[in-house]
């Protein structure tokens, strides 16, 4: 359909010399007269980075400096300290974030693995299997994304009390799985539809069952998409406050970093020196996970899909 539109488009640009295969975007970028395009990209990148950079710098400044001068003044008046991080991580302090790191890890891993696997299974069925009520069910699953977590707090907690898992990691894992499924099914279904139908047909003709197709064909092809969504779910779970607070309770034995961060400033006022260091401690692990997996984003969401 795009080809038709191109034919009708007015031709006013010079014909580009030279060959070479490149993506449309690269072509567009190259022709968006380079200097201001690059400038624009740099401006956006700077705009997006400054807030985090400001907090990072702040987290290394002494408390009194933070309240009396802007972080940018370190350029003319460098004065750094590690004290904020020591307070936030020291094992003596009751504000310490350290014990909650392990809780965050224990909460997050199952809360990512479970929904991702279940959602891939369901998305496969919605995309490539025929059964009655398929479309209605899919729309329902999609629409349920909108249910706000807040309305589920009391019904779910009552349920967990009944089956005696309230205040355990099980309650948190199950809840995150439930809340993560609709979006994961919706997005994976969209990626899955882009896999050429001929591939699946061919496999069916060869006598492969759905379980075989799922493991041999779908999982390998969807690996980048699953990884990308897995990161999304990981960030969501890692950064969640309300689910953990409600279903795990406020016991220090279960509390993830977000809960610890909530109570970090204690009853005192705007303690930027603690907040800035605490916020950075909580960012480190998701940032590492993201940076180590980001190649999946950069390459595209389908392995081996045909492209230029």
């Amino acid at each position: 359909m795009s080809a038709v539109q191109i034919d009708t488009a007015t031709v006013d640009g010079p014909v580009t010399p030279g060959g070479g295969r490149e993506t449309t975007a690269a072509a567009a970028r190259r022709r968006l007269s380079k200097p201001w395009a690059s400038l624009f990209a740099v401006v956006l990148a700077v705009l997006w980075t400054i807030p985090t950079l400001g907090l990072l710098v702040t987290s290394f400044r002494p408390a009194t400096d933070i309240n009396n001068s802007g972080w940018w003044t370190v350029l003319t008046n460098p004065n750094f300290t590690l004290e904020n991080y020591e307070t936030v991580l020291s094992s003596d302090s009751s504000q310490s974030l350290a014990p909650s790191i392990i809780n965050s890890v224990v909460i997050t891993i199952p809360a990512v693995v479970l929904p991702m696997f279940l959602a891939t299974l369901a998305a496969y069925a919605f995309a490539w299997m025929n059964f009655r009520g398929r479309n209605v069910l899919f729309i329902a699953v999609f629409a349920l994304q909108v249910v706000p977590i807040q309305v589920t707090l009391i019904p779910l907690l009552s349920l967990y009390v009944d089956i005696d898992i309230a205040g355990t990691f099980w309650a948190v894992w199950l809840s995150h799985t439930m809340f993560g499924l609709p979006l994961a099914v919706f997005l994976l279904h969209n990626f899955m539809q882009e896999i050429p139908g001929e591939l699946i047909e061919a496999a069916r003709v060869d006598g492969a069952g759905h379980v075989t197709i799922f493991f041999r064909l779908m999982l390998p092809m969807l690996k980048p998409a699953i990884a990308a969504l897995g990161i999304y779910q990981f960030l969501w779970v890692w950064n969640d406050l309300l689910v953990a607070l409600t279903f795990a309770g406020s016991s220090r034995d279960l509390a993830p970093m977000t809960v610890a961060l909530l109570n970090l400033t204690g009853t005192r006022g705007s303690q930027w020196f603690l907040l800035s260091a605490g916020a950075f401690v909580s960012i480190i692990i998701p940032a590492i996970v993201f940076l180590s997996l980001q190649r999946y984003f950069v390459r595209g969401l389908l392995a081996g899909s045909v492209k230029g």
Binding site: S2, A26, R31, I50
Partner: protein
């Protein structure tokens, strides 16, 4: 509980999950060997069960609860809904929510798309993308802390000599440019946009990564053909790039819009819904768990479902077109 115990507990849980799912799939596999055709329910069963328990049941309960009064003892029909639509403050809450849903997805997607195109294939693409995506790795609460710090206000009176130094970067820029610092979070309705900016800051990275992947998947033949026709870059963007990634664009817009409908932490952390910035999710929480009016809270949540109907209809429309 010791750290080791927790980790062991986690591994046990994962193994248990693998065993259960493995058993289910083995059963399906054997059924298929025997020629069974209808195996789809085994695939979607676990998902449907969890969603039914975790989302459908609470949602239905909420609808039901919205028809009762604050204490939950007497049935008042649509009383809570008329309360919402006749209360100036609740209308502001609805207005703010609509503002979030309209502005955030659009701006975040446009920024993400432009950036994806600008850095596509450029030197250091991965690093450039990481800069924009990094805010995604920050929790809503963390992002709110960061932006509260950006917006931080210290008064500035030209008549007085020793004004305090600004510690918020945006106000410092205003001062450098010769302006008067603003208390950004205070003045309604503009303060809503300063909260929305935080969400855009977070979600642009999401839009950028997904759209960038879609752009890379556009077959090069199309580009070549366009190039041979000598179209300009803007035309290429408008007539090739955008149509090719339209399904992805819709997915991205939808996902961000639904995220905005549910936005809670940002508002809670930055203003707690004061100064005319409350949104539905925050108001639900306040009404249900502070003000002791679960009926009104439930009615607000039901309005959320209603607000999402247009988005669902649009997507269903597209789904139909795609599967045709």
């Amino acid at each position: 509980m010791q750290a080791a115990d927790k980790l062991v507990g986690m591994v046990v849980a994962l193994v248990a999950f693998a065993v259960v799912i493995g058993a289910i799939l083995l059963v399906v596999h054997l059924l298929e060997r025997r020629g069974a055709r209808r195996v789809a329910w085994w695939f979607i069963g676990p998902t449907l069960l969890l969603i039914a328990v975790g989302l459908v049941y609470p949602a239905l309960r909420t609808v039901w609860r919205s028809l009762y009064d604050a204490a939950g003892t007497s049935f008042i029909g649509l009383g809570n809904y008329t309360d919402i639509f006749t209360s100036g403050e609740q209308l502001v809450v609805l207005r703010n929510t609509v503002l979030w849903v309209l502005v955030t997805p659009f701006v975040a997607t446009v920024v993400g798309l432009i950036y994806a195109i600008l850095v596509d294939g450029a030197k250091g693409e991965a690093a450039a993308k990481a800069l924009i995506f990094l805010p995604m790795a920050i929790s809503f609460v963390g992002a709110s802390i960061i932006w509260k710090f950006m917006y931080e206000y210290r008064f500035y009176d030209p008549a007085v000599e020793n004004n305090p130094n600004q510690i918020g970067f945006i106000n410092q820029i205003i001062v450098w440019l010769g302006g008067t610092p603003q208390n950004f979070l205070l003045n309604s309705p503009w303060n809503n946009f300063f909260l929305i900016a935080v969400m855009i800051w977070i979600q642009a990275g999401f839009a950028m990564t997904i759209l960038s992947a879609a752009i890379k998947a556009i077959p090069s033949e199309i580009t070549e053909a366009a190039r041979l026709d000598g179209v300009s870059s803007l035309q290429l963007f408008r007539f090739v790039t955008v149509p090719s990634i339209r399904p992805t664009l819709i997915v991205v817009l939808t996902t961000i819009a639904i995220g905005c409908l549910k936005v809670f932490d940002i508002v809670r952390t930055m203003t707690a819904g004061r100064y005319g910035t409350s949104v539905v999710a925050n108001e639900f929480y306040t009404q249900s768990f502070s003000a002791g009016n679960q009926g009104l809270g439930a009615a607000l949540a039901v309005l959320l479902f209603v607000l999402v109907v247009p988005i669902i209809v649009y997507n269903v429309h597209h789904l139909r077109k795609a599967s045709r």
